[in-house]
Amino acid sequence: MTYLFSPDNWEWLITGNNARFILEGFAINLEIAAIGMVFSLLFALPLALMGISKKRPVRVAARLWVDFWRNLPLLLVILYLAIVMPTSLREAYESLVPGFFPEALQSGRVLAGLTALVLYNSAVIAEIMRAGILSLDRGQGEAAAALGLSYTQQMRYVVLPQGLRRMVPATVSQLITLNKDTTLVSIIAIQEVLSKGASVYGFNFFGGVQAPILHVLIFIGLLFLIVNYALSRLSRRLELPGEEGAARVSGIEDQVAPVRAA
């Protein structure tokens, strides 16, 4: 306890610009999460719709794709893509990145990390969307069909607006997971918060001040706790008032898990 709270062990936080250095790293994590989320949502919707398609080959292909990415460790995908991503693609990315992006995101390595995050998260979110759509009463689609709406119209005006609203809480929970997963790109040497933290505690005596690993990580952890706690409150607030007996879609870690209310 004395080790934890001794002011000497916290002095690094107000020395030089250590705190700012780490906060800048954290901003990179949030940016990667935001970009990753946008692209994941974009890819997830077609995947989800293919997953409930009436054509069997389409459905099977979409399910296999989704299950493949969902069942692999994200870190394995990140490390693999970091090794095999062709230089031409990296260079294309580097030339395409808008100039106002922070330096850490300009590196071609980010492309591997982002691709892995999007492959994985779009599969998970597609599954959340599919569960949301399937949790709708079948009568909704049937009624729309009886009214003479085409399949596209049924989806567009009846099924998706209701189904997608049910998936909002689970998607926000998934954003928490994605947020945490952004730390994994530190392993492929992207300058995000953990890499920056490591260089703070790596210099054992930064300007004559010791920065213990535990303390640096507690500071970084607090940043994540604040953001994720806010997101978790938001997710709870967005939950629809419980419908008796209806299957609820809830995000647990990174998987879809319908829990039946009694």
Partner: protein, 220 residues
């Protein structure tokens, strides 16, 4: 194709030992997660406010922190602080404690899914609060939450790769594959076999869970 078979033939002992370590890690973490998770879930529904608050703090902290941050804290952080913790202990323990927060949340939803009448019936039969929890509520709660627990187990198996990926000197499946990639310079075949290894575990867990579900699930 030939490359794939060569890769597994040349590196079989290393990959197999990595696979075995992953299996052991996952098993130990699973037990820790279930035990601690049940305890935290009971705290979360405890009659005392203080106990409930402790449960809530546990869940929010372990769910809000990235596993990688927890792992570095538990190993490098504690070692620097003078605690002689080993990677063998720190890895599975951290993964177990992290997963326990999710187990607690799932179980809590399971408690609420058990009808109030069950509890009342049990109490009116003369069972006390502890007995009601132990013999009536918990068994039904566990059975209700088999599907989400299965999803969580899959997530935990995947997360176990982060132990080897962080600073810990753990040579699990992914780590072994990476070491061999470093030695041979040929990434695809080795990552392929590592992926196959993880898929056998994650898909295997899903299949087992589905079987348990048809056998024990509570139908309502």
């Amino acid at each position: 194709m030939v490359e794939l078979w060569e890769a597994i033939a040349d590196n079989f002992p290393e990959l197999a030992s990595g696979y075995w370590l992953t299996v052991r890690t996952v098993t130990i973490s699973f037990v820790i997660a279930l035990v601690i998770g049940t305890a935290v879930a009971l705290l979360r529904i405890a009659p005392t406010r203080v106990l409930r608050a402790i449960g809530t703090v546990y869940v929010e902290v372990f769910r809000g922190l990235p596993l990688l941050v927890l792992l570095i804290m538990a190993f490098s952080g504690l070692r620097r602080a003078g605690v002689p913790i080993t990677a063998t202990v720190a890895g599975p323990a951290t993964l177990g404690l992290y997963t326990a927060a999710y187990v607690a949340e799932i179980l809590r939803s399971g408690f609420f899914a058990v009808g109030k009448g069950q509890r009342e019936a049990s109490l009116s039969l003369g069972l006390d609060g502890g007995q009601t929890m132990r013999h009536v509520v918990l068994p039904q709660a566990f059975r209700t939450v088999i599907p989400p627990l299965a999803s969580l187990t899959v997530a935990m198996i995947k997360n176990s790769a982060i132990i080897g990926g962080s600073l810990l000197a753990t040579q699990d499946l992914l780590k072994e594959a990476r070491i061999e990639v470093g030695a041979s310079g040929n990434a695809t075949p080795l990552f392929f076999w590592a992926a196959v290894g993880y898929l056998t575990l994650t898909v295997g867990a899903t299949v087992i869970a589905r079987r348990l579900e048809t056998r024990y699930a509570v139908r309502r």
